[in-house]
C-alpha cells in the first residue's frame, strides 16, 4: 500500500468482503443467523446503506448505450440508462436490463482452463501466470502471418490493442464479426453509401426528424444498428411533433415488431424491395409530372405489381404520401438487404431519399459521425471475408487463433464450415466469459471479465448525432478468477519481450486506455481536460466523452438520380415451396440465450418464451394440416432443423420465418439444448456487397408427427378464440 494506488487497485481493495449473504433469505423472519461482513476498506465515496452508481457502457450488443449501474455493498443491483449519454439518453432495452444475469450467471467460466480435449466439458484449471505464458508463446513462437485474431463486433479498446499488436508483429489485421452485423447487413449499407455518395461510412437515418418513414425490411425498433436510439427517434417521429403524427410504412414479408408499429404494413414478396422502391419513385415522378430521371427509368410498374404482390393502389398510395408529408425518409435494412439483390435494394432506397431531396437534412440521410478515436468507420467483416478467413484456416495458414467476444461456431452459418475448419488450427485460445460453443472447441479458455467488471471504451458507430466515445469501468470487483484480456495480452507482450515488449510498455489496461485517450485532451466536447488523469476521471464519471455538436456528415447527392439503378428479382437457393425469413430475436439478440430473465421475456410479436418457433401463415398451416405446436422439419439445401410451429397471422402464405438466438449446443444451462438455430439452414451465397445472402433461401417443410408445446404469454383461448387449441 505504500506505492501509489492505481484506480483499479483501489476498487479491488474496496470491495473485498462486501456483504452478500444478507437480504437473501426471503419472505420470512429467517434472517436471524446470517452474518454481515462490512467493508474492509470502504471506498470514500460510499456510504453505508446508500447505493453507489457507476457509469459504464452496455456490452450486450455493439450499439454501445451508456449505463449507470446501481451498486450496493459491492454488488451490482440494477441497470439504469445513463441520462447524459447521447446514444440512449438514459434509456435501455430488455437486453441491457438483463446484463446483470450475465454478470452473475451461474455458468460463467471461473478460472483459466486448459481443455483435455476439444469439445469436452471442463478441463484442468491453470493459474494466470501460466496462461500469460501460453499467450506469450503463441504470440512469439509462431510466424506472424499464422496468428489470427477474431474479435467481436464492438470496436473497443481491445480491438485497438489487438490491431496495434497485429501491426507490430506483422500479423494480419484482426477480424471483427458478429451475427448482428450479418443480420443487419452492415457491409451492404456501407457499400451502398459508398457507391451512392462516394463516401465511406455507415449511413445515418434521422428517423426523429422525419414525419414519414418508409422502411424496406429495416427492423430498426428491434436489433438493427442502435435500437434504443432508434426507438427514441421513432417516438419523436410519431408523437414528438407539433400538430402532426409521424407515419410509418413498412414493406416486409413477415410482420416484425417494427412492422407491428407501422401504420401501414405491406406484405411483399421477398427480394422485390428494390423494384418496389424504384416503382414508387417512378410513380412519384409521374404524379408530379416531372421528367423521369434515369434512376427510375428502367422500372416497369406493372411488372413490379405482379412480382411483388403489392397492389398498384398500395404503390400509388405510398407514392402519394410523399406529397402529403414534408420530410419523408426511406430506410433499407435488415432482412431486405440479406438477399442476393440486397445492394440493389439499399441503393434503390437511397435513390428514393435522393428524390425526396433529404440528403443531409433534418429527417433525412446522413453518414454517421466518425469516432473521436478513428479517422473512418471500420465495418465488421462481411460474409465473404469470413469465408476467406475460414478458407485460411482450412488451408493451414492459421496456427494460432485468438477468439474474443464472438462465438463463430454459433453465429456463423454452419454451412460456412467454421466448425470443420477448427481442426486445421493447432491452437485455439478463447477469451470467452461464458462456456459458449467456440470456447468448448478451444484448447485454452482464458476468461475475460464480464463487461461490468472491466475497463474500456467503445467507439460508437451510430445512433447519435454527435461523435461519441463511450467509457466503461468496473462496477464490482471481479466475481470470479477472471482476468481482462487486454491485461493478459499486455502481460504476454511483456513476457514475449523484444519489439512487442517495447511497443506495449503499459502496466495494465488502464494505462493503455490512457495512452489512447490522450489524443482527446483539450478537445472541445461534453467536457475537456488538459491532462490525462483529470480527463480519465471525468471519462469514468460521465461514462464517456462526446462532442456536443452535430457531427453527422452530409452526403453529396448531386447526381444520384442521374445514375441508373438495377432492380433484379432476387435469386433463391433451393427447391422448397417457402421463402425463408430469418430474423434476430428482438429479445435474445445474438448472445442473450444464457440469461434466464431474457429467456422469460416474451417475444414482442408472438409472446413466446424460452424456445424457438417457426412462423407459418394459418391458411398455409391449415392447408398442410399443421397445428400450433406441431414439430416440423424445415429443410433447405444446406441443412435442416426441427422446430415447433406458431401460426402467425401476419406473414405471407408463401413465407415462413424463424428467429435467431436459440439452438445453442453449449453456453450454459439456460441456453444449451433449447430451440433451434436458423443459421443451420443458411447457404454460403453472398450478395454483391459481400454480405451473406441469408434470406436467399427456399425451404420446404416436413411434418414429424411430434408435438412440442411452446410457452406463450398470450392465452390462446382469448386471442384466437375458443376453437383453437
Amino acid at each position: 500500500m505504500s506505492q501509489q494506488i492505481s484506480r483499479r487497485d483501489f476498487l479491488k481493495l474496496a470491495g473485498v468482503g462486501a456483504a452478500t449473504t444478507a437480504v437473501l433469505t426471503g419472505c420470512g423472519p429467517a434472517s436471524r443467523y446470517v452474518t454481515r461482513a462490512p467493508y474492509i476498506k470502504m471506498p470514500e465515496y460510499t456510504y453505508n446503506g446508500l447505493s453507489t452508481f457507476y457509469a459504464t457502457t452496455c456490452r450486450e450488443c455493439s450499439a454501445g448505450c451508456g449505463l449507470v449501474i446501481r451498486t450496493m455493498q459491492g454488488r451490482a443491483i440494477k441497470v439504469e440508462g445513463n441520462p447524459d449519454h447521447p446514444v440512449n439518453l438514459g434509456k435501455t432495452c430488455a437486453r441491457g436490463q438483463a446484463t446483470l444475469h450475465g454478470l452473475y450467471n451461474p455458468d460463467r467460466i471461473t478460472d483459466p482452463i486448459q481443455r483435455v480435449a476439444r469439445g469436452s466439458e471442463g478441463g484442468t484449471k491453470m493459474d494466470w501466470d501460466a496462461a500469460i505464458g501460453i499467450v506469450a508463446d503463441a504470440l512469439s513462437k509462431n510466424k506472424p502471418d499464422e496468428i489470427a485474431f477474431l474479435v467481436g463486433m464492438a470496436p473497443d479498446h481491445l480491438f485497438d490493442l489487438v490491431a496495434d499488436l497485429a501491426k507490430t508483429i506483422g500479423a494480419p489485421a484482426p477480424v471483427r464479426y458478429g451475427a448482428l452485423g450479418m443480420f443487419e447487413a452492415r457491409t451492404t449499407l456501407v457499400k451502398a453509401a459508398e457507391e451512392t455518395f462516394g463516401q465511406t461510412g455507415l449511413p445515418f437515418f434521422d428517423i426523429g426528424g422525419a414525419d414519414l418513414v418508409i422502411s424496406f425490411g429495416a427492423n430498426f425498433l428491434e436489433t438493427w444498428l442502435s435500437p434504443v436510439a432508434q426507438t427514441r427517434e421513432f417516438s419523436k417521429m410519431r408523437r414528438g411533433q407539433k400538430n402532426k403524427r409521424g407515419y410509418l410504412v413498412q414493406f416486409e414479408s413477415r410482420m416484425s415488431q417494427t412492422g407491428a408499429k407501422a401504420d401501414e404494413w405491406i406484405p411483399i414478396t421477398p427480394g422485390t424491395e428494390a423494384m418496389v422502391a424504384l416503382a414508387i419513385g417512378r410513380l412519384i415522378v409521374e404524379a408530379r409530372g416531372l421528367a423521369l430521371p434515369p434512376a427510375f427509368a428502367n422500372v416497369d410498374v406493372n411488372g413490379v405489381v405482379e412480382a411483388s404482390g403489392v397492389t398498384l393502389d398500395a404503390l400509388n398510395r405510398v407514392a402519394g404520401l410523399f406529397s402529403l408529408y414534408d420530410r419523408p425518409l426511406v430506410i433499407p435494412g435488415g432482412g431486405a438487404l440479406g438477399l442476393s439483390n440486397g445492394l440493389q435494394t439499399a441503393e434503390a432506397a437511397l435513390a428514393l431519399n435522393a428524390l425526396a431531396g433529404n440528403f443531409g437534412k433534418d429527417g433525412g440521410v446522413f453518414i454517421s459521425p466518425t469516432n473521436p478515436l478513428a479517422d473512418q468507420y471500420h465495418r465488421p467483416a462481411s460474409g465473404r471475408e469470413m469465408q476467406d478467413f475460414i478458407q485460411r484456416m482450412v488451408d493451414g495458414k492459421i496456427k494460432v487463433l485468438f477468439v474474443h467476444g464472438v462465438n463463430p461456431l454459433f453465429e456463423l452459418p454452419k454451412k460456412l464450415g467454421f466448425g470443420g475448419a477448427t481442426k486445421y488450427v493447432p491452437q485455439i485460445i478463447s477469451f470467452a466469459t461464458f462456456p459458449d460453443e467456440t470456447a468448448m472447441e478451444a484448447d485454452y479458455v482464458f476468461p475475460d471479465h464480464h463487461g461490468l467488471e472491466s475497463w474500456g471504451y467503445q467507439k460508437i458507430a451510430t445512433g447519435s448525432a454527435s461523435s461519441v466515445l463511450s467509457g466503461a469501468q468496473p462496477v464490482i470487483v471481479p466475481f470470479f478468477n477472471t482476468k481482462s484480456t487486454v491485461d493478459v495480452l499486455l502481460a504476454a507482450a511483456q513476457k514475449a519481450g523484444g519489439a512487442l515488449a517495447s511497443a506495449f510498455p503499459f502496466k495494465d489496461e488502464v494505462e493503455f486506455m490512457d495512452s489512447k485517450l490522450a489524443s482527446l485532451l483539450n478537445v472541445d466536447g461534453f467536457f475537456s481536460a488538459p491532462e490525462i488523469n483529470t480527463f480519465a476521471a471525468y471519462f469514468q464519471q460521465y461514462g464517456g466523452w462526446w462532442k456536443t455538436t452535430d457531427n453527422r456528415i452530409a452526403p453529396s447527392s448531386a447526381d444520384v438520380l442521374n445514375r441508373s439503378f438495377k432492380a433484379d428479382a432476387a435469386q433463391f437457393d433451393g427447391q422448397g415451396d417457402f421463402f425463408f425469413v430469418p430474423f434476430v430475436s428482438p429479445i435474445l439478440g445474438e448472445a442473450g440465450a444464457n440469461k434466464p430473465w431474457l429467456q422469460e421475456v416474451p417475444d414482442p410479436t408472438t409472446t413466446i418464451m424460452w424456445n424457438t418457433w417457426v412462423e407459418i401463415n394459418p391458411a398455409t398451416a391449415d392447408k398442410l394440416g399443421i397445428e400450433d405446436n406441431d414439430v416440423v422439419r424445415v429443410v433447405s439445401d444446406y441443412g435442416e432443423v426441427e422446430v415447433s410451429v406458431y401460426k402467425y397471422p401476419a406473414i405471407r402464405p408463401d413465407t415462413i420465418a424463424m428467429p435467431f438466438g436459440q439452438g445453442h449446443t453449449a453456453y450454459g444451462q439456460f441456453a444449451q439444448g433449447r430451440g433451434a438455430n436458423p443459421a443451420d439452414l443458411f447457404g454460403p451465397s453472398v450478395n454483391e456487397a459481400g454480405d451473406l445472402a441469408f434470406g436467399s433461401l427456399k425451404v420446404r417443410i416436413e411434418k414429424t408427427n411430434k408435438k412440442r408445446q411452446l410457452s406463450r404469454l398470450e392465452g390462446v383461448l382469448g386471442v384466437y378464440g375458443f376453437d383453437s387449441k
Binding site: S31, I40, G49
Partner: protein, 199 residues
C-alpha cells in the same frame, strides 16, 4: 390394552405422569424460544460499554444512520485506525481476531442482532431526524458488552410508538390547535400505513 392404559391414567401415579409429561413439553418449548432470544456468539466479543464509556458517539461508527436505511458496521480500517495506536491492541488476546483480520485482509463476519425481518424495510434516517436518540430503541448500550436488544423488535412495538407520536393529546397538541390536530391526523395516516415498512 387401551383400557388398561386409560385405567392407569386414572390412578394418582398416572395423573402425576401426565402432569410431568406436560411440564416437560412446556418447558422444552419455553427453553427453545428462549434460545432464539439469546445474543449470538460474535467473532469478537465487542465491548460496547468500553467504547461508549470513553466517549465515542454511536454515529462515529454507525454513521449510515444519519443518511439512509442502514447504520452500517464500521470498516476494519476504522477499527484499526484507533487500535493500531494503542498498546493494548498487541497484547490483549480479545483483540487477536481483529489483528488477524487486518493482517490477512479478511472481513469480520458480525452477526446482526438488532434486526427486523426481511419483509420489513426499516430506514434509520427519519427516526434520527425525528429526534429519537439511539438508546430509545437500542437501550443503554453503555451498560452492554455484546449488544443485546432491550425489547423484542416487533410490529406492535413499532406501532405503539408511531401511534403515540401521532395521537391528538395534551402532549402532542397542548393548545388544542386545530391545525396541529389536522397535521397529526395526516401524520398518523402516514405513520400507520402498511406501505411505510412493507414493500
Amino acid at each position: 390394552m387401551i383400557k388398561k392404559f386409560f385405567d392407569a391414567l386414572n390412578q394418582p401415579l398416572g395423573r402425576i405422569g401426565v402432569l410431568i409429561t406436560l411440564l416437560v413439553v412446556f418447558s422444552a418449548a419455553v427453553w427453545g424460544i428462549a434460545q432464539t432470544q439469546k445474543p449470538p456468539e460474535q467473532p469478537i466479543q465487542f465491548p460496547h460499554n468500553l467504547h461508549v464509556g470513553v466517549g465515542i458517539q454511536c454515529l462515529y461508527c454507525h454513521s449510515g444512520a444519519l443518511r439512509g436505511a442502514s447504520p452500517g458496521l464500521p470498516t476494519e480500517t476504522k477499527c484499526w485506525g484507533c487500535h493500531q495506536q494503542m498498546a493494548i491492541t498487541n497484547t490483549s488476546p480479545l483483540l487477536k481476531p481483529l489483528v488477524q483480520a487486518v493482517e490477512n485482509n479478511q472481513p469480520i463476519n458480525w452477526i446482526p442482532v438488532a434486526q427486523v425481518p426481511d419483509f420489513v424495510r426499516f430506514v434509520h434516517r427519519p427516526h434520527i431526524a425525528a429526534g429519537l436518540n439511539c438508546e430509545v430503541c437500542h437501550g443503554n448500550v453503555s451498560q452492554m458488552t455484546v449488544y443485546q436488544n432491550p425489547q423484542v423488535l416487533n410490529m406492535g412495538w413499532c406501532l405503539a410508538c408511531h401511534r403515540a407520536k401521532t395521537e391528538d393529546n395534551i402532549q402532542n397538541n397542548p393548545g388544542r390547535d386545530p391545525a396541529i390536530t389536522a397535521a397529526l391526523a395526516t401524520k398518523r395516516t402516514k405513520l400507520t400505513d402498511c406501505s411505510l415498512c412493507h414493500y
